[in-house]
Amino acid sequence: MDTVTTDDAPTSPRDLGDALVELKGVNKHFGALHVLQNIELTVHQGEVVVVIGPSGSGKSTLCRAINRLETIDDGEITVDGTPLPEEGRALAHLRADVGMVFQSFNLFAHKTVLDNVTLGPRKVRRVPKAQAESEAMALLERVGVDSQAHKMPAQLSGGQQQRVAIARALAMRPKVMLFDEPTSALDPEMVNEVLDVMVSLAREGMTMIVVTHEMGFARKAADRVVFMADGQIVEEAEPDEFFTNPQSTRARDFLSKILSH
């Protein structure tokens, strides 16, 4: 095994808080496919972790398991010390604390941009309408789409939609944000407007788990890069260390492929 363990060595230059998301011995199968194999991962308060790896290695499944959009076969996942509830209200409460941004945006297609952002606070957090709307407008301004507040999602560009999706997740005041390839569905000229928002979030201390192949983002904002292949975490390191001096052959192979063009 060419796995490099970083268990006892603090890898981040920043001061990290307590463990916020912990995965212990997590396994999941899709039929015969062992898609998550003994995953051990701890993400601390305020930490930004980039998950990178070949397509089909289980990155999305890992991300989705953390707010239980996918169930796991065994192991344990805790968020802020609480194990993920099975179903029902308790699970809904936990999900409210975990923001998720999808590759395909998934804005509510029948609601305006503003209503997309206020729906969660109003229906889950019971925030009064006027307050929810003024907070939503502030968030939309922060991600630079406040002028689009009364449009429908389909009228926005991909980059704008994804920034609204980030605002929608932030409106819940989540403890941690999950991003599953947030820029992969975007035209190249829109990638940066979304990454800029994510970098500023990271700078403000948001705890983030980001599946992405954007090395620029990883170098700028990540505390740690986690490299996955075939359902396993193969390597973890600080971004510079990982990109300049990958330890495993698989990571080297993978990096040579994404760097060669």
Partner: protein, 229 residues
């Protein structure tokens, strides 16, 4: 020629066609309303994460959809009214009328449920996932995110169910609701066989006038209200 026209006139003075159609419209309205409510509940059961609810919803739809409407209507009257002496009103005619509504609603709810489910299939999975991800429990995701989009995707099939319901409201004759078109037409023709084609024609045209706008309206609505993605 004058005799012919005045004879025809007498037929339609004797048998009030408009009243007859009005009964069908009322049956359709109330049965449609209840069928929509029950069908929506069934659809929610069928997409719910609770297996027992899904089972009940599926069983209802499969049993009711595959039972002939006349049998359901006859059952309402023979079993419920005559055997069990249930009544939905102290006035027997009103009671029959209401049982006819119940029977029509029970039957068409299964088709409403399937129409809504076809609408649910037009809603991408990501919509439900996004709803769950912001912490909405199942019922809120269904009510606030999935169903509003599903209904818009289901307008055309719901229109077909409504048209079927309008036409099926004539089966209320089996529930002894007499003043509606099929019974009126039958009696009118029985006593005026020389005007058979004319009487039949008037009722047929009446039905066309009722049904065609519904089809046009639902087609127009389903395009207008389609969710843009």
């Amino acid at each position: 020629m004058g005799d012919y026209l005045s004879g025809l006139w007498t037929v339609f003075e004797t048998y009030n066609v408009l009243d007859a159609f009005w009964v069908n419209i009322q049956l359709t309205f109330w049965a449609g309303l209840f069928a929509l409510a029950l069908g929506t509940v069934l659809a929610i059961m069928r997409i719910s994460p609770i297996a027992s609810l899904r089972f009940v919803g599926t069983a209802y739809v499969n049993i009711i959809r595959n039972t002939p409407l006349t049998i359901i209507m006859t059952f309402m009257i023979l079993a419920l009214v005559f055997q069990l002496a249930l009544e939905l009103s102290s006035d027997l005619t009103t009671s029959f009328f209401r049982f006819a509504i119940v029977g029509l609603a029970i039957y068409h709810a299964s088709f409403v449920c399937e129409a809504i489910r076809s609408g649910v299939n037009t809603v991408p999975l990501g919509q439900a996932e996004a709803a769950r991800a912001i912490g909405l429990p199942f019922l809120d995701s269904a009510r606030l995110v999935i169903l509003p989009q599903a209904f818009r995707g289901a307008i055309a099939p719901l229109g077909s169910v409504l048209i079927a319901l309008m036409k099926n409201s004539t089966v209320a004759a089996a529930a002894s609701v007499t003043t509606e078109t099929s019974s009126v037409m039958k009696v009118a023709i029985e006593f005026n066989p020389n005007y058979l084609l004319e009487i039949f024609g008037v009722f047929a045209i009446g039905w066309l006038i009722l049904v065609i706008p519904v089809g046009l309206l639902t087609t127009w609505l389903s395009e207008r209200l389609a969710v843009k993605r």
